[in-house]
C-alpha cells in the first residue's frame, strides 16, 4: 500500500515543455498531485492533456522541464520504468491484444515468464480485483470478442494489476454510459480516498470533474490556464468557459413537425441481437440509449448492410437496408456517421478532398474546388490538399459531417457522433445534425452519452442486451431511462 505522506506530492511536473517539430504541444506546464487526491486535467482535444500523460507514463520524453516522484527526480524511459516507479496509465486508445484472453493480456504486462501457472494466477487475481471493484469480466474470453465497454474496464484492471500509487486515467469514461461511468467514478474515488492513491484524471466531461475530482487543472493550447484549483469553488459553466475560452451553449432540441415514417426496423434479429423494432419519422430525432455493448454495434452493422440478419426487415421506402451495398445506400441519400470513425469514416493517408469523394459521385477532377467550398462552409480547419490524418479529432469529424450531410440526407444514421470530441466540435456536430431535421431528415442517433440524448432527441429507445428495453417520449424522465439502461424496467 502506498505510503501516506500528506506533504510530499506523489507526482510533480515542473515546467515541462514538449514540441513536435514546430508544434508546441506543451509549454511550461507545472502541476502536482498528492496522495489520496484526484486531480482532474481538463482541456479540449489538442490541449496537450494526452501528451502530458504520455510523458508521465514514459511513452514520451519532455523537451525541457522536470518530473518528480515523491520529490525524487523521475525520468521514465519506457512504460516499464514508469510501472516500476509505481506510475501506470490507462490509455484512451486500447492497447490490448485482441486474440488473447483478458488474463493473458494482464500477464503480458507482468514480468514473470512461466506461462501455465502464472496465467491461472493472473486469472484468479483478475477475478478477485474485478469483484472487489464491482466489475464483471470474463477472464477467459478473447479481448477481441469483448464489447468496447468491457475492454475499457479491462484496461483499468490491467493498470491496477501492478498496484501503482500513481494512476493516470486518460478519458476513462469516454466510451462508457452514465451508469457505467458513475460506478467507475465511484471506484476511482475509492482508489484515491480509501486506498490513498494519487490519481491524475483526464477528461472533458465536466460533470465528472465536478463529481469526482478534488482539484482541477485546466489546459488550453498546451498551457496551464487554471492552476490546480479546488473543484468545489468552481461551477461547471465556469470550467467550460475556461477550457474553451468562451461560453459553450449546448444545442437543445426544439420540437419539429414530424412527418411520415422513414426508417422502419421490423422485428429485426441476428444471431446475437433482437428482436428490435423501431421507427424513425421524417423530421424526427430518435435516440438510442444504452450501455455500450448491448447490441448497438450489431444494429449499426445491419443498418449499413455489413451483417446479414436472420429475421425481420429494415425498410427505407421500397428498399431493405440490410441487403444493399454501400454505394446504393449513399445513392438513396442516407448519411452514415460511423462509431468506429478512425477505421471506417476516413482514409487517413489520403487528402481531405479525396476523402470527401468517398462514396460520392463527384468527379475526381472537381475534388479540389468542391472540397474548398465544403470545408469553408463546414468550418473544417485544414486545407483540401492536406492529409486527413493531420486533422484533429473534431476537425476530422466535421469533415465526415460535411461529406455525409451536404446533400440534406433523408435519413441520417449517426453512431456516437460526438464521442471523444472537444466541447466546441461537439456543439457544432449536435447543431448541424439538428439543423438537418428542418430539411425533413430523419435522424437515428445512437449515443452512450445520456445527457446528450436528453438534450437533442424527440424520442429515446433504450437497448439492453440486444433488444429494446423501453421507449421514452419528451419530457424525459432521466431516472426511468437510466433504470431501463440498467435492465430494470
Amino acid at each position: 500500500m502506498p505510503l501516506n505522506d500528506a506533504d510530499t506530492p506523489a507526482i510533480t511536473v515542473a515546467g515541462v515543455s514538449r514540441h513536435f517539430g514546430l508544434i508546441q504541444a506543451l509549454t511550461d506546464v507545472s502541476l502536482e498531485c498528492h496522495y489520496g487526491e484526484i486531480l482532474a486535467v481538463l482541456g479540449e482535444n489538442g490541449a496537450g492533456k494526452t501528451t502530458l500523460m504520455r510523458i508521465l507514463a514514459g511513452l514520451d520524453r519532455a523537451s525541457s522541464g522536470q518530473l518528480f516522484k515523491r520529490s525524487e527526480p523521475y525520468s521514465p524511459h519506457s512504460p516499464r520504468d514508469a510501472v516500476n516507479a509505481g506510475v501506470t496509465l490507462v490509455q484512451q486508445h486500447f492497447a490490448l491484444v485482441p486474440t488473447m484472453t483478458a488474463a493473458e493480456n494482464i500477464l503480458l504486462f507482468r514480468s514473470q515468464r512461466r506461462l501455465r501457472t502464472t496465467r491461472d494466477k493472473a486469472a484468479s487475481d483478475l477475478e478477485a480485483l474485478s469483484t472487489r471493484l464491482g466489475f464483471k469480466i470474463d477472464v477467459d474470453k478473447p479481448v477481441g470478442e469483448m464489447s468496447v465497454g468491457a475492454r475499457q474496464r479491462l484496461e483499468l484492471l490491467r493498470a491496477l494489476d501492478s498496484d501503482p500509487d500513481v494512476l493516470l486515467l486518460d478519458e476513462p469514461t469516454a466510451v462508457l454510459t452514465d451508469a457505467e461511468s458513475d460506478s467507475l467514478l465511484e471506484i476511482v474515488r475509492s482508489l484515491a480516498h480509501d486506498d490513498n492513491r494519487s490519481i491524475v484524471f483526464i477528461t472533458h466531461r465536466l460533470r465528472e470533474v465536478v463529481k469526482v475530482a478534488d482539484r482541477v487543472v485546466v489546459l488550453r493550447n498546451g498551457k496551464v490556464v487554471v492552476p490546480a484549483a479546488p473543484v468545489d469553488q468552481r461551477t461547471a459553466a465556469e470550467l467550460a468557459s475556461e477550457m474553451v475560452g468562451s461560453e459553450v451553449h449546448d444545442a437543445i432540441r426544439t420540437p419539429q413537425i414530424i412527418g411520415k415514417p422513414r426508417l422502419i426496423v421490423d422485428s429485426l434479429t441476428t444471431s446475437e441481437v433482437g428482436p428490435i423494432s423501431l421507427t424513425v419519422h421524417e423530421g424526427e430525432v430518435l435516440g438510442i440509449a444504452g450501455v455500450e455493448g448491448n447490441g448497438q454495434t450489431e444494429l449499426e452493422r445491419v443498418l449499413i448492410g455489413a451483417r446479414h440478419c436472420t429475421g425481420g426487415r429494415v425498410r427505407f421506402g421500397e428498399i431493405d437496408l440490410a441487403d444493399i451495398p454501400p454505394r446504393r445506400r449513399i445513392a438513396s441519400n442516407i448519411a452514415y456517421i460511423p462509431s468506429d470513425r478512425e477505421r471506417t469514416a476516413l482514409v487517413g493517408p489520403m487528402r481531405c478532398d479525396e476523402n470527401l469523394l468517398l462514396g460520392r459521385t463527384t468527379r475526381l477532377a472537381r475534388r479540389h474546388e468542391k472540397a474548398k467550398t465544403l470545408m469553408e462552409q463546414w468550418s473544417v480547419l485544414g486545407l483540401p490538399e492536406s492529409v486527413a490524418n493531420t486533422l484533429s479529432g473534431g476537425n476530422a469529424q466535421k469533415l465526415v459531417a460535411a461529406r455525409e450531410l451536404e446533400s440534406h440526407p433523408e435519413l441520417i444514421l449517426a453512431f456516437q457522433p460526438t464521442r471523444g470530441l472537444d466541447p466546441g466540435a461537439t456543439a457544432f456536430l449536435r447543431q448541424v445534425l439538428l439543423d438537418m431535421t428542418a430539411f425533413g431528415s430523419a435522424v437515428l442517433w445512437v449515443s452512450a452519452d445520456l445527457d446528450e440524448l436528453l438534450a437533442v432527441t424527440d424520442r429515446i429507445v433504450v437497448m439492453y442486451s440486444g433488444s429494446i428495453a423501453g421507449e421514452f417520449k419528451q419530457p424525459f424522465d432521466r431516472g426511468a431511462v437510466g433504470l431501463a439502461m440498467a435492465g430494470i424496467a
Binding site: 517539430g21 514546430l22 448492410g305 455489413a306 482514409v347 493517408p349 489520403m350 479525396e354 475526381l364 492536406s386
Partner: protein, 381 residues
C-alpha cells in the same frame, strides 16, 4: 553572381545548397529519391562484390550498360524482356497499391499461356488477325481465372493473399508440365513442348526484329497511369490500400475490390504470357515458366506501384538481366553475382520507404500546425 538578398537575409545557405536541399525535398516527397538513391547504393554494394571477384566494377558496369542499351541486339533484348515484366508489373502495381499482395503472377502467366496454346494450337492455320486476338483473350481469361481462384480463397475463406496466390503457382507448374507432355504435346517433337503458334505469331514492328507486344506495353503505361491517378477505379485502389475499411463502409462490399484486382493482375500476367509465347518462344515448353511473374514483383516494388515507375523499373531491370549475361559472356563474371544487385536495391528501397514514411509524418505534423495556426488566427480576426 546575382544574389537575391531578401533570401540571404532569411536563409544564409548558399544557393547551390538550397537548390540541392529543395531537390532532395521534392524527391523525398514524391519518393523518386528513394529509388534513385537505392539504385546508387545497390550499385555501390555490387561494386564491392565485383571487386571481390577480381574485376573492375566500372568496367563491368560499362559493359552491362553498353551491351544492354546501346548495342542493337542489346536494346532489342532489353525491350523484349521488359515487355512481359512491365505488363505483369502494371497489374501488380494496382494490386499492391491496394494492399492486395498478389505474389502468384507466375502461376497466372503459366495458366494463361497454357490456355492460349490449347486454343491457338487448334486454330493456328486461321489468319493471324483471328488467331492473335483469340489467343490473347484466352490467355487473359485463363490468367484472370487462376487469379480468381486465389481471390475466392482469399475473400471467402480469408486465406492470406500471399499464400493463396503463391501456392497456386506450385499447382500451375505441374499443370504446365502435364500439358506439354500429354494433351498439347507436339506429336512431331521428342521434347516436351507444344505445337507452335503458327499464324498466331506476333508481327514485327517494321524491320526492327521487335514484335508489336512491345508497342502494346508502351501504350499500356500511360493508360495505366491515367487510370491509377485520375479514374474512380484508381481512387478506390489507392483508398483500399490506405484504409480498406473506409472503402468497405462507403463504396463497395468487403472483398469486391481484392477480387477484381487479383483477376485484373492475373489477366495482365496471362497477356504477358501470350505476348512472350507468340512474340518470342512460339511454343509452350519448359521456357514458359521463366520466372517473369516473380521478377515482376521486383519491378512493381522498384516502380513504387506507380505505372510510370513500373515502366522505368521494367526497362532497367531487363537491361540488368541482359547486361549480366553479356558480362558473363565477355568478362567471365558469373550472372549470379551481377544479378544479386537487384535484391540489394529492393532492400534499399524498402528501407528507404520506411524512412520516408517517418519523414512525411513529421512533415505533416509540422504543416498541420502551421495551417491550423494560420486558419485559427484568420478565424479569430
Amino acid at each position: 553572381m546575382i544574389v537575391d538578398d531578401s533570401n540571404v537575409a532569411r536563409d544564409p545557405e548558399p544557393p547551390v545548397a538550397g537548390f540541392i536541399r529543395r531537390l532532395f525535398h521534392r524527391g523525398m516527397e514524391s519518393g523518386i529519391a528513394i529509388v534513385v538513391g537505392s539504385v546508387v547504393a545497390g550499385l555501390l554494394v555490387g561494386a564491392i562484390l565485383i571487386l571481390w571477384a577480381g574485376e573492375n566494377p566500372l568496367n563491368v558496369y560499362r559493359v552491362i550498360f553498353t551491351e544492354s542499351l546501346l548495342k542493337g541486339s542489346g536494346w532489342r533484348g532489353t525491350l523484349l524482356q521488359a515487355t512481359p515484366l512491365g505488363i505483369i508489373g502494371l497489374g501488380l502495381a494496382f494490386s499492391f497499391r491496394a494492399g492486395v499482395w498478389n505474389i502468384g503472377a507466375e502461376g497466372q502467366l503459366i495458366v494463361g499461356t497454357v490456355a492460349a496454346i490449347a486454343i491457338v494450337g487448334a486454330i493456328s492455320d486461321l489468319p493471324g488477325y483471328i488467331v492473335i486476338p483469340v489467343g490473347m483473350l484466352t490467355a487473359m481469361v485463363g490468367g484472370a481465372a487462376w487469379g480468381a481462384i486465389s481471390a475466392y480463397l482469399h475473400v471467402k475463406f480469408e486465406v492470406n493473399a500471399v499464400i493463396a496466390t503463391l501456392l497456386m503457382v506450385f499447382i500451375a507448374i505441374p499443370l504446365l508440365n502435364w500439358a506439354v507432355r500429354v494433351p498439347f504435346k507436339d506429336p512431331a517433337s521428342f521434347l516436351p513442348q507444344s505445337r507452335t503458334v503458327g499464324n498466331g505469331a506476333l508481327p514485327e514492328i517494321f524491320n526492327t526484329n521487335v514484335h508489336i507486344g512491345v508497342l502494346a506495353f508502351f501504350v499500356l503505361v500511360p493508360v495505366a497511369a491515367w487510370v491509377m491517378n485520375y479514374s474512380r477505379f484508381g481512387y478506390l485502389v489507392r483508398g483500399h490500400g490506405a484504409n480498406r475499411y473506409a472503402v468497405y463502409a462507403n463504396e463497395s462490399r468487403p472483398g469486391r475490390l481484392p477480387f477484381v484486382l487479383l483477376a485484373l493482375s492475373g489477366s495482365l500476367a496471362g497477356a504477358a504470357g501470350f505476348i512472350q509465347l507468340a512474340g518470342v518462344q512460339m511454343r509452350v515448353g519448359s521456357g514458359t515458366a521463366a520466372g517473369f511473374g516473380f521478377t515482376a514483383i521486383i519491378v512493381a516494388i522498384l516502380g513504387r506501384n506507380r505505372p510510370i515507375g513500373v515502366f522505368f523499373a521494367a526497362i532497367g531491370l531487363s537491361a540488368m538481366l541482359v547486361g549480366a549475361e553479356a558480362a558473363q559472356r565477355l568478362l567471365g563474371l558469373p550472372v549470379a553475382l551481377t544479378q544479386s544487385i537487384q535484391p540489394i536495391i529492393v532492400m534499399f528501397v524498402v528501407a528507404g520507404e520506411a524512412l520516408r514514411a517517418r519523414a512525411l509524418k513529421r512533415e505533416g505534423e509540422r504543416e498541420a500546425a502551421i495551417v491550423a495556426s494560420q486558419l485559427r488566427s484568420e478565424v479569430q480576426t
